[in-house]
Symmetry: C2
Subunit: 170 residues, 2 copies
DNA sequence: AGTAAAAGTTTCGCACACGAAATAATCGTC
DNA sequence: GACGATTATTTCGTGTGCGAAACTTTTACT
């Protein structure tokens, strides 16, 4: 595994990785900066903007949207509730479920935030030609497909629901 | 700003964003999984592998490599020192500087970890043809250049070293 | 030399972020 | 209709991750 690469190719690979990392970290920085202006943290801004759009969500649904664990989101909502930005309410159909929605104060705050962080990237991507965009998507999908297969083969481990065959059958 | 996009384009943009996010979060997941097998955390694995390659680094240099603040790295090194994986030493040339290097135990551990997390992505990227790689790099650079200019114009704020002209000169 | 500014690190307080265990409510099955 | 399995959320412990302030040493300037 890991055959030595020609030098030029290695540089390209490295630069691609760095660019992807740059784009991702920049997205977090932008979120944080926009949040700071509204006296919020990054994740809190994300939550406020999602709730403004959707109206109300269960905690699990919210976790899924922001790609975090429930236990993480519990903490974020705790702090937002403390600030009076959101309210928790037990669902009437299923009393295990907690519904989260913006308070009037939270809604007013949401409306004061003009730009969504992701819009910066949408803006940047739409500066590409339609062909470039297609090509970018095609190549990225190819890469992530390949990543998935490498992971399955060489890393694997917590494969979501794989029945872990710890030892061979006798 | 934010002209309404044609529907098809918007889908492409969304999918590109999701793919980039997938690749980034997957990289963290892989790092974490490889780390878990060595009884380490993600950042600790990264540090171990860097030190194995480079030998020794100051804390600042290390921070830069892993793209984190000094104060974050101080904590990581604290815990690694507690586990006996690394040692701190004051530099003799400049006594402000702290040199960090692996202990024999840390080095042995590093040698036991076969795959570097980034190798998964290098592997995936090298499955692209040379033309695809060039094209990917070209488009990504175009996107990040555009992101930079949007940020400068619409977000800005903590521009690294911009002489913040808070008010015009009298 | 003598001091002010700068550089390197740590400390502190806070907010994620995750996984494992605990808790509460619902569902499936008998 | 009781009981065990399942689902939704919270609690707990630990590890990042950041920015501001504190501390130490070095550098630059006079």
């Amino acid at each position: 595994m890991a055959a030595p690469l020609p030098a030029g190719v290695k540089d390209d690979v490295q630069q691609i990785l760095e660019t992807i990392i740059y784009l991702y970290t920049e997205s977090r920085r932008i979120t944080k900066e926009l949040a700071r202006r509204a006296q919020l943290t990054g994740p809190q801004l994300t939550v406020v903007k999602i709730l403004e759009q959707i109206g109300e969500l269960s905690l699990s649904e919210l976790s899924e949207r922001i790609r975090a664990q429930n236990s993480t989101v519990t903490g974020i909502i705790d702090r937002m509730e403390r600030e009076g930005l959101v309210a928790r309410e037990r669902s009437k159909e299923d009393r295990r479920v907690v519904i989260i929605r913006l308070t009037p104060k939270g809604l007013a705050l949401a409306e004061d935030i003009p730009l969504e962080p992701m819009e910066v990237f949408q803006g940047a991507l739409t500066s590409l030609s339609k062909d470039e965009m297609r090509e970018l998507l095609r190549i990225l999908l190819k890469v992530s497909k390949r990543v998935k297969s490498i992971v399955r083969r060489d890393v694997g481990a917590p494969l979501e629901k794989a029945d872990k065959a710890e030892e061979r059958e006798p």
